[in-house]
Symmetry: C2
Subunit: 430 residues, 2 copies
């Protein structure tokens, strides 16, 4: 039997067994989350030992930063356990009534949330991410295909073993979790639109782009996060400096960090020197256009810099002559993630809100607020730059689909057809 045949059988089994999870109650799913948390605590030494194997193998081969992500420490364990406890507290995303309409007397239509089905989550070498994703799938009633970074092979195997063992005799059972390991299996998964309903890839821009370009399955995620802040002619200068610095500096490697600052020419003289001064402690590399260079000292910008997600202590500045030019710059160079205007003029804000076609459009606050927890979504599934289904920071609702449930008493369409047919009432009752 080839690997692919085997994968088909496993995916078929997953599809079959997900109905056990789909028909479980909130209490049963919350109990299962608790069982996972307990099992992780109880088996922590085993988990740390297996993680150490990965760390030893990776030593010297990967950067200190990635090594730090790979380490599964007591701190990380505490954090995933508290994450599972937070999930327990969230309301049930399953079978929520989203619409309710009386079509006619005693003929009731309901639109209710249901799990999407099977979600493939592909992520970097971070064992804590695996636990987080299993928790999100469990709370939302979705079967899950897990592929973690190969550097975390031993850690991931150990985690899945502990989790599956913990759930074996629970009401939700454990048939809804499938771990895959090989790169070939990932490529195969991208073609399995009969079995996989949604793919959530995390990792490098290039990897996410590769997934998006090579599957007909819907993908929830983002490749680039090229965020801009536009400092309008009606900006409050101090506020502008403060927000621009935070947007770049609060965590330069994040997808919601600003990469480009657009400055209105009428305010450039007043804004740029103070902004440059505020950045001085951080030794940020600034790429500026001719007009910027006329005001502050910086490197001459090249057009490609405006397309670059630096993810580092580096940014591009452009002086523009109008709000329209700023919007046009963002339309051409932006990635549809998060863009912000700094202005005291509500008309300028409204125009920016209307015409900038990005997931998050902000006014007078840091781009770094683009985040599920900061938005108050409870749990963050990811950030999507797609415009279908879910956009921007996505909470548990992004893992839900819905069904239309219609209950009647023998109604036929024939009765509601023709000139003398019965008429629908279509009365919303929610």
């Amino acid at each position: 039997m080839s690997v692919l045949d085997n994968l088909d059988i496993q995916l078929g089994y997953l599809k079959e067994s997900r109905s056990i999870l789909a028909s479980s109650s909130l209490e049963e799913r919350n109990d299962a989350l608790r069982l996972i948390a307990d099992a992780l605590e109880k088996n922590k030494q085993f988990l740390f030992d297996e993680n150490n194997k990965d760390l030893e193998e990776a030593e010297g081969k990967i950067s200190a930063q990635i090594l730090h992500r790979l380490a599964f420490t007591q701190d990380k364990l505490d954090s995933v356990v508290s994450g599972l406890m937070d999930l327990i507290k969230l309301p049930d995303p399953v079978a929520k009534t989203l619409e309710k309409r009386q079509l006619d007397d005693g003929f009731i239509l309901e639109r209710r949330s249901f799990p999407i089905g099977t979600i493939a989550m592909i992520f970097e070498a971070r064992p804590d991410a695996l636990v987080q994703m299993v928790g999100l799938a469990l709370k939302s009633g979705n079967a899950i295909v897990l592929k973690g970074g190969s550097e975390a092979k031993n850690s991931n195997r150990a985690l899945v073993r502990v989790i599956k063992e913990a759930l074996k005799d629970s009401a939700v059972q454990n048939g809804w979790i499938l771990q895959i390991e090989s790169h070939g299996d990932v490529e195969a998964i991208l073609k399995k639109d009969d079995y996989i309903d949604l793919i959530i890839p995390r990792g490098s821009n290039a990897f996410v782009r590769h997934v998006m370009d090579n599957t007909t399955i819907p993908v929830l995620g983002h490749a680039d996060g090229l965020c801009s802040v536009y400092v309008d002619e009606d900006a409050d200068i101090d506020l502008a400096v403060k927000v621009c610095v935070d947007s770049k500096m609060q965590y330069p490697a994040a997808c919601n960090a600003a990469e480009t600052i657009l400055v209105n020419s009428r305010i450039a003289d007043a804004f740029l020197p103070g902004f440059k001064k505020a950045l001085e402690p951080y030794s940020v590399v600034i790429h500026g256009d001719e007009r910027t260079k006329g005001i502050i000292s910086c490197i001459k910008v090249e057009e490609k810099d405006y397309y670059t997600e630096f993810l580092a202590l580096e940014l591009a500045i452009k002086v523009v002559d109008s709000l329209d030019e700023a919007i046009e710059h963002i339309r051409i160079h932006g990635s549809g993630h998060t863009d912000c205007i700094i202005t005291e003029n509500p008309d300028a804000r409204d125009k920016f809100f209307k015409l900038v076609d990005s997931a998050d459009v902000f006014c007078n606050c840091s781009t770094r607020f683009a985040d599920g927890f900061r938005f108050g979504l409870g749990a963050e599934v990811g950030i999507s730059t797609g415009k279908i289904h879910a956009r921007g920071p996505v909470g548990l609702a992004g893992l839900m689909s819905y069904k239309w449930l219609l209950t009647g008493h023998g109604e036929t369409v024939a009765e509601y057809s023709g000139k003398n047919g019965k008429k629908f009432k279509h009365k919303d009752i929610l």
Copy 2:
């Protein structure tokens, strides 16, 4: 310049000009709908003449049924004009506040509906469908790429000419409409994920499947509509007969017509003879399993019949021993479109509602109710069997995405970080 280069330029122009439409008011979009309706009336002779060219060319080459669809008559004109008037009456789908949350004092997050962007609509040789789609795109603020069936070439060109001329001097202008004609352009469109945000294909199952399998762009639609009715042991027999007959017979070629009747073995003797008798006037071909054949006379079913969307006076019957077996049969053979249970037992209904993973799950009413107008959605964009974004009958809301709009007064993430950082309030205010 090659055709493809040219298409890229046209799509780029479409993307640019859609901001005029996106920033238009409800009144401006409604005025534009009225302008189209007036222009169609005024130019009806031209439209009928051009349609006649298509009809003459098609004569003898296509079936009477398709010829009937191709004809653009006074009746069809009246119907599209009244469809445009109905669209005017619908509330504005654009810039609706979907969520509103106070993150902190004066720091307000809003989730508001916005057009998806550019939608490619590919449809069969029905000139009236073109007008309907332009109307939906206009009301929802989306740019549109139109590809109609080639048999309607002259009619479609004439319609687009009349519509674009009517909108030329309107507030929404006409740059948001692009008509393409060649098959090569359709294949090219499937690869243009930079320009096209959603594809809505209509036509044969095979065509829709082809589109779904050959694009990474989200597709809203359905290939198969293999709908089943399960007659439970606790069914009311008369009601079951009435609903099963309507589900099959009210319009046998529709995607929401029933193809398979599953009958619980405890009720089969009581149900099948009456059902057979009720179908007699229509000369329906019945494919039944061994147990069905033991009760009524019919053709021996083959397994492939349970996978067949007959779309004709033909159906398959299977006797099952339990609700579970019925659900399992639907899981394996169904297409996730519409499935119905006939039962007086609320527990059986609830289990069926929970475990049947279809867009529409009904109890005690005809599968033919699966329709945007009957559901009260105002306008129907299509029926989707996908589980992402929109599912089942889709109204104007299915053509909308949303943005997160956040307005602050200089808030930085740094202030909200660390142990002594400010705390979010996250208070829903809608």
